[in-house]
Symmetry: D3
Subunit: 81 residues, 6 copies
């Protein structure tokens, strides 16, 4: 009876999208359920998967909202090169 | 000081609704708070209840998004009968 | 497919116990599963319940570890009476 | 690698707002990340913070939806004075 | 920056074990991190995975502690065959 | 009524300790409760804080159990210098 909770930022994987697509969600659900079957022998029908998309304003990293933090890291990298 | 987190799919209990109603949420809050009072003697005012409604796309069961999984189970049942 | 997570402090309901008993846990599981059946028509077999017992050192209330906070509230009440 | 999850009701801190502002969220992210640095020596860049805003209908306290509970507490206080 | 939380019962995959092994945990961590890389292009180093093992007494299914529920389902199956 | 959940690895801040101390936990509880008071005007007595210590085997980063990942990062740094 595993329960898997996946939290990601609400963003697209390509510039024209602003969230995770239904296909990507289905791939996550399939992949993680099969992983639990393979590693722990948990039958597919006993695994629940919950995907939570979190607005980037609501996600903090490095003491900053995540978009600011990524900008800072990218700027630092550019300076170092 | 119990904290109860209830995750359900965002669906109605009747065909004309597409989410849990405020009345149903109030009934869940009341019921679970009274349960903690009866079983563990926790005063009502020290229990927090959080209800999370999860889009069906974001809920996986049986390795599939939940609506697909339910369809598959229903089809299998129909075949067996 | 509801998932219910119940967090309580690791304490007994009587002075001779230091944790929630197996019987109390079973009563919580039964009660909350029946509540979801009654309020949202969720079949019993599709509800998962997870009970987490949290050490009192790890639970904060009122800006303090919970045992200290309860002591402070009790002392304040005693003074007021 | 701490993970901090902050759940609050979706409400503004002033009457003209109906949710937490981006500035307030950034202040929470900054404050909690610095706290983990100061208390546990966790580098800022290894802390993740997730803020979840919960609709008041979905938050229970005292066996009631939170707005009802607050109203009841306020009414009781008014009577006592 | 995905965060993945995996909750499973504290049980072994073979009769001589009573919990998930370190190797199995490493396989879960590797598998789920690679899944997020493949599906959502999330770099491995930005994914956190938390595995929680839950005592069987603390896990409810079908309105019962999970071991009781499994016993009931097994007994029902045996009767039907 | 904020609820704050803090997950950290079960490790000490000095070599002679193998977990977070009660004093450090109290400092986290105090700090985060005051932060919510300062930023969102939430009264101290309405904030719950839960601290979860997670075994290092159960925490994954970079596709590896966290101690292995840290070792790998440290080795890479040493090579680069």
């Amino acid at each position: 009876m595993p329960i898997v909770n996946i939290q990601v930022t609400r963003e697209g994987t390509t510039p024209d999208r602003d969230s995770v697509t239904a296909e990507e969600k289905a791939a996550l659900i399939k992949g993680v359920s099969e992983l639990l079957l393979n590693v722990l022998k948990k039958p597919l029908e006993s695994t629940f998967v919950i995907i939570e998309e979190v607005d980037t304003d609501n996600w903090g990293w490095g003491g900053l909202p995540v978009l600011e933090y990524r900008g800072k890291v990218a700027a630092k990298k550019a300076t170092e090169e």
